[in-house]
Symmetry: C2
Subunit: 189 residues, 2 copies
DNA sequence: TTGTTAAAACTAATACCGTTAGTTATAATT
DNA sequence: AATTATAACTAACGGTATTAGTTTTAACAA
């Protein structure tokens, strides 16, 4: 009633292999064929672990969101206010710089409304809400502010990743200035 | 020395057909097979107009950036300062809401460093620079500020499009508050 | 008017992908 | 030692982009 396979792959190993392909060669190279080759099995065998390519994308999205959360959470420890916002913001862009493929996978779930995906994402939202509580925003303002920070972080990261910022201008300087401007704007909302 | 084909498709017609597929069924349905079917020709015939799927993506990206610029440019006419920033910002998100597929195509060029793609995008950057000149930002600050506004616009739009904002909270209210906060933050930079 | 030429269509074939169906081997439990 | 559930496998199908080679079309030149 509790069997064992020839190879006995665990889902986490598969996701780590997929994440490695994504970071090294880009998310478009995360195919069932490439993944199976890396794992030393045949493509159809992967269907024992998830429901096809769509299923893989969903699992990989959750995996990526959790990895991102693990980086963000410690960044906000022991600091508060502007400093806390700046710390998690820098942690966010550094994660995308280090793991562009995993971050891309984060946004490639077939259905972002999926409950498991939402649950993983809500942890990041809640973390951001806590960090922004220092500004004592009233009512829905705090939630709007969270959306704003997420927009900046995601927008900056993905534009940087895809080469959207062409000009010879220091990216870290841009980022710090942008975050600081947004913080200042929120405080006097 | 100047021939004519049976059908005589022009590149612009092909791109419009591709844009229609992208907006109606999603960018993943913009395949050479679907595009050829819609145009009433065979897939290999498309190679007479662009260099394969990669070439189509590049052309479609430029097409999309130009359509976006055409919407942004008039939005900033006759207004200045905060109002101008708010106008082009709203024009941006409304474009993405109306043409999600075309906007997605904007970011799917195989090489964002490509000169033609860069030229198309630089027009939007220059437009934004002009709008932000009202704030008399000194030195590189203006360029950093442009990056910030682009980050917000792109981040908000793509998160909204992909269902990243789950909570039952008015999206337009969020957007206006975010832009206003950023503007305020920039002014007192 | 006729012949040439270049563009843009076509057919045929290949390789790769995801997917399904059905089968086999493994290893823990009974 | 027999059972059983898991996870591997092979084989086959349909869809995809792509290449090679061919044919049709229509403008230009003679």
């Amino acid at each position: 009633m509790s069997p064992r396979p020839k190879v006995g792959l665990e889902l986490i190993e598969i996701l780590e292999a997929g994440a490695e392909i994504a970071d090294q060669k880009g998310i478009q190279d995360v195919t069932l064929a490439n993944l199976a080759k890396k794992l030393g099995i045949r493509p159809p065998s992967l269907y024992n672990h998830f429901d096809g390519l769509g299923g893989l994308r969903k699992e990989l999205a959750i995996y990526g969101i959790e990895r991102l959360y693990e980086v963000l959470a410690p960044a906000a420890i022991g600091v508060s206010g502007d400093e806390a916002v700046m710390m998690i913001s820098k942690a966010y862009v550094n994660f995308v710089r280090k793991h562009p493929g995993i971050y891309e996978a984060t946004l490639m779930a077939p259905d972002m409304e999926d409950e498991e995906v939402q649950i993983a994402g809500s942890k990041i939202v809640e973390l951001t809400v806590r960090v922004l509580q220092a500004y004592k925003l009233e009512g829905d303002t705090a939630l709007h502010a969270v959306r704003g920070l997420r927009s900046i972080l995601h927008g900056f990261s993905s534009l940087e990743k895809s080469g959207g910022f062409k000009m010879a201008l220091d990216l870290d300087e841009s980022f710090e200035m942008i975050i600081q401007a947004y913080i200042n704007g929120i405080r006097y909302q």
